[in-house]
Symmetry: C2
Subunit: 355 residues, 2 copies
């Protein structure tokens, strides 16, 4: 059984008063119109979100005028989007569904932004605290510099300028990043992704269509929920394990990936992703960003979370929408990397343009 | 690919101060101990719940001391439990997981009890209002009586006495039901299921084990979210469609079902289920309950929602746990029927003891 991504839709990432329902509808309608999808063929609707509203999958289905068999909400904090892709893949594989619409959506004030349950974080519950821990430990272990971290923001903000759906539309210099307010040393304000409103949608199908993209690898790993379950802050173990699963399933290694969307919730996350996804050796993430223009692989072409904003449940689907778009434009192998709650969960998805 | 149910666990249904996390843990530990399950073999954890807490699947996994690949929350109001079974089935079918633990859990005060979004209900948002509509219309169309409705409570409360995990443990007479407070005419207090705290767990696996039960049919259908999407209140259309899917997949018809758990959120729901699942003809549900002792099929042997209580996300899993238990004891074909939001969504699962 093969599973194909055949369409995507997206909304402008922003902050306004649009309801979560209308926001979800917006990306779904964009998908349907952009790819001329027959609504009646959709027999599954999964909504990836950390919003608390019950029955949202049936509500949005009713608004869309469709009557799916499978309909439900799926939540796993920042990984909700890519977890929902694995679910949709499985519903198609099992034959329960033929065409599953996966919508990611969240508002900026979602409770999914921080894990208040985790008392092992003490008073330090803002995600910048765990990002700072990773950054400090990586700098100490591998001489990674503040300038290297800042380069991630500069690159991703540059990429966001070419993405009209991105929250940020202004170029930023390395000095502006370095001189922005210290949130938690060494993480500065412009090294943090921005919680905003947004939605993205993709369609997975059991049959190929013109231009459709094959889903070839899925890897997920949850290693706990509290930050105390992490023993080594120089690497994201869950990402390494999820990547191995996904590469093995696709039958490829990291060197084959042409384009990737990685989870840059903070600058250090992208540096870690380079290493944990195998794009470079352990400890070489800082050098990798310095030389990224000379390296073949494209990373976070839509602007990443740092450039587009981070509407929690929408992020994994927006990443997938970008990879599908880029593969439809000609790239061959794409990778999506999503993670949640200080990297205690990671998801890696591989898609291939087989034409 | 075959999928097997190999274990179940349950908590006492009650009202106390146990946290949602501890409650989920309780049924999972019951399952692990009852069936001597190797915790390390569990590579998927889905939590069916309408609770709003984020990241609950990874939190409970950490509490259990397991590190699953797939971990997420799934919400579809009262159908969350059986929707999660379809998800687990699919993860196993796709090969992503080998052993998926599905935990249903909710507290009595969950926001999943009523759909405040549905403004087509006007001021009448309590679920008893839609139940009363179905009851009135069924009585008018088919001469169904208040006594017949009341018999559902009498039967299910009787069954609950033999289930130590049930909320209600007292026998009730038909007169007590008929003389209980009218909630929404003609639905009386003792015809309403009781929101309470509870959890249930089942394990689905890719390999059979001693005593394991095969999942042979899965049917789901969502037809909308608002009550205005329902045009005929004498039958639950989503149940009829979900049942057809499940029977077709299992290659059986209703006459083959030996034992069923049906969604008796209100007495009228069970009467409708008899008809919509095909156990009797349209309009004959009232006669069916009058003669149920003479009919081969066993219905709601654990006490149903009316006898055990209704912890929203736990209900579908508790129903499945009962069917698995009964099939392990010797019944051959079992059916689980779950529905949500005035019957706008229904789920039907068929399991078989192949020994």
């Amino acid at each position: 059984m093969n599973v194909y991504a055949s369409a995507y839709g997206i909304t402008k990432f922003r902050k306004d008063n649009t309801s979560i329902y209308s926001l979800a509808l917006e990306s779904a309608i964009d998908l349907i119109k952009r790819f001329d999808i027959d609504k009646d063929s959709i027999d599954g609707v999964i909504i990836a979100t950390s919003s608390i509203e019950p029955y949202i999958a049936s509500i949005v289905s009713e608004m869309l005028g469709i009557k799916p068999k499978i309909a439900h909400k799926l939540e796993q904090m920042c990984s909700s989007g890519s977890s929902a892709i694995a679910a949709a893949y499985s519903y198609i594989y099992s034959g329960i569904c033929k065409n599953v619409l996966v919508i990611g959506v969240d508002k900026h004030d979602t409770i999914g932004k921080r894990l208040d349950w985790d008392n092992s974080r003490g008073e330090f519950k803002h995600p910048a605290h765990w990002a700072a821990l990773y950054a400090k430990m990586h700098m100490k272990a591998f001489n990674t510099t503040e300038e290297q971290l800042a380069l991630v923001t500069v690159k991703n903000r540059d990429n966001a300028i070419n993405n009209k759906y991105a929250y940020f539309q202004e170029r930023i210099t390395i000095d502006e990043v370095l001189n922005s307010k210290i949130v938690v040393d060494p993480i500065k304000l412009y090294e943090c992704s921005y919680p905003c409103d947004g939605s993205a949608a993709i369609l997975l199908s059991n049959k190929p269509s013109e231009n459709s993209i094959k889903v070839t690898g899925i890897g997920e790993q949850s290693l706990g929920a509290s930050i105390s379950s992490i023993t080594d802050f120089t690497s994201i173990e869950s990402t390494r394990l999820a990547a191995k699963e996904a590469y093995d399933m696709a039958g490829i290694d990291a060197s084959k990936v042409d384009i990737a969307e990685v989870h840059d919730a903070f600058t250090i996350c992208e540096i870690l992703a380079y290493e944990d996804l195998g794009f470079t050796e352990r400890g070489k993430g800082g050098k990798f960003i310095e030389n990224i223009d000379k390296i073949g692989i494209k990373i976070n072409t839509r602007g990443g979370l740092l450039g587009t904003g981070h509407p929690v449940g929408a992020t994994g689907i927006a990443q997938a929408a970008e990879i599908i778009r880029q593969l439809m434009l000609g790239y061959r192998i794409g990778l999506i990397h999503n993670m949640a709650a200080a990297g205690t969960t990671s998801n890696v998805i591989i898609m291939e343009n087989e034409i």
